[in-house]
Symmetry: C2
Subunit: 248 residues, 2 copies
């Protein structure tokens, strides 16, 4: 069901469908809110123009600290004629716009959630060198070329050079397990979600679940890698993704 008032969600396509940890945060968000939406798939070279056409300013800069960096997810709400990007900002907008739906940034938790998101990014540091190449190999041709060039510029390595092999692979995979182990320690033993239990969802849950689902999609549901990640820390991450599956 889609008409001219249907919210539009801008996502990045791949040969495996939606795959980006960042856009997944917003896909989860929209499904959690129960807001009907239409996905518009945008290849990497088209993101900048798409956002500019929607009147959305870049939410970050590249490493030089000046050049604007245009990123998805973004949404366009035809009812309020509002376009915006950045997944937390989108969640906040929807919290305000639909006050009758359950909120993702409950009063008093916003700064703490931002701290959580910042903290997990550091702990998941080891994941990116696996995830970027896997993403590059999964993208459609136009995006792949763009993605490879941008990452080469930022990290000085091709995707093939970045992807850890042999002993290095074992070490880095171990480092990822340890990083997730540090996050695990923040949680109560029986808790699945960051605010406790497995029912009370907040945006921070989608922030980490985005990385998890992206791992599952890029490596494959039956892969050794997903078996590892979903099983680590007594199966914490597999159970978390499971608990949020109804919002996929």
């Amino acid at each position: 069901m889609s008409d001219e008032n249907t919210l539009i969600f801008y996502d990045i396509p791949s040969k495996m469908g939606a795959w980006s940890p960042n856009t997944w945060k917003t896909r989860y968000t929209l499904n959690f809110k129960g807001i009907p939406f239409k996905t518009v798939w945008v290849e990497y070279p088209d993101i900048e123009k798409t956002l500019k056409d929607l009147g959305i300013a870049a939410s970050a800069t590249i490493l030089d600290g000046k050049t604007p960096h245009y990123t998805l997810p973004a949404i366009y709400d035809p009812v309020t004629k509002t376009g915006l990007n950045a997944s937390f900002a989108i969640a906040k907008y929807l919290d305000e716009k639909y006050p009758d739906k359950p909120t993702l940034a409950p009063r008093g938790t916003e700064a703490l959630q931002k701290a959580y998101i910042d903290a997990i990014r550091g702990k998941l540091d080891a994941l990116l060198q696996f995830m970027f190449p896997k993403a590059a190999w999964s993208l459609n041709e136009r995006s792949e070329e763009y993605f490879r060039r941008a990452r080469k510029q930022k990290y000085g390595k091709t995707m093939e050079e970045m992807y850890p092999q042999g002993e290095k692979r074992k070490e880095e995979w171990k480092r990822l397990e340890e990083g997730l182990g540090q996050i695990d320690k923040w949680y109560g033993k029986e808790d699945i979600l960051v605010m406790g239990g497995k029912e009370k969802v907040c945006f921070a849950d989608f922030a980490i679940a985005g990385f998890m689902i992206s791992t599952r999609i890029l490596f494959g549901k039956e892969s050794e890698e997903w078996k590892d990640v979903s099983g680590w820390q007594r199966g914490r991450w597999g159970r978390m993704v499971q608990a949020l599956a109804k919002y996929e």
Copy 2:
């Protein structure tokens, strides 16, 4: 007012009184809860024996991952005959023991607060090289000798070598300002405390305030350093310490 049922708080003395960012978290906590307590001052070489006598296990290990690391703050509650250390664990114990007092780890926020505390430690990384030497120079003789030896072993540097000088000092001080700038971005512009506003205190506020008050004490209230830190980010940190002053 102190009798045999008065809670005991174990803190580390210095020539400037209470100075440790970690024990300050618990001093704030006890004052916030309005729980009468008696401070017992423990010099560094006596911490291990003091905790062992109270039946408190080491809450961490040193870098080798094996040797137990005995740390303050600790408390002993004569009513329940409970001794425990680690500032968050102490706050949680007091939340449970005194349910009629305002709570420092409100339902649903515990994992988020732990993430916040982890995240700020990373952002305040540049502070330690200033704070450790200032602490060493402020400790009483027995503690100073112990503190210097332990830090030398961990960092391979004397306190004098660690303390940044000249250009390095400027760079590292700038790095501290930037780290605090990243924390500032999590907060709402008008908010003083992490859960918003300036009234609703949680443990995470004391975690960062501990670093602030320690800076104020070790450098001095009138120092250029405290003037800098308390003034950065539109005076955010000075105003925060001010808002919590009633719990000092």
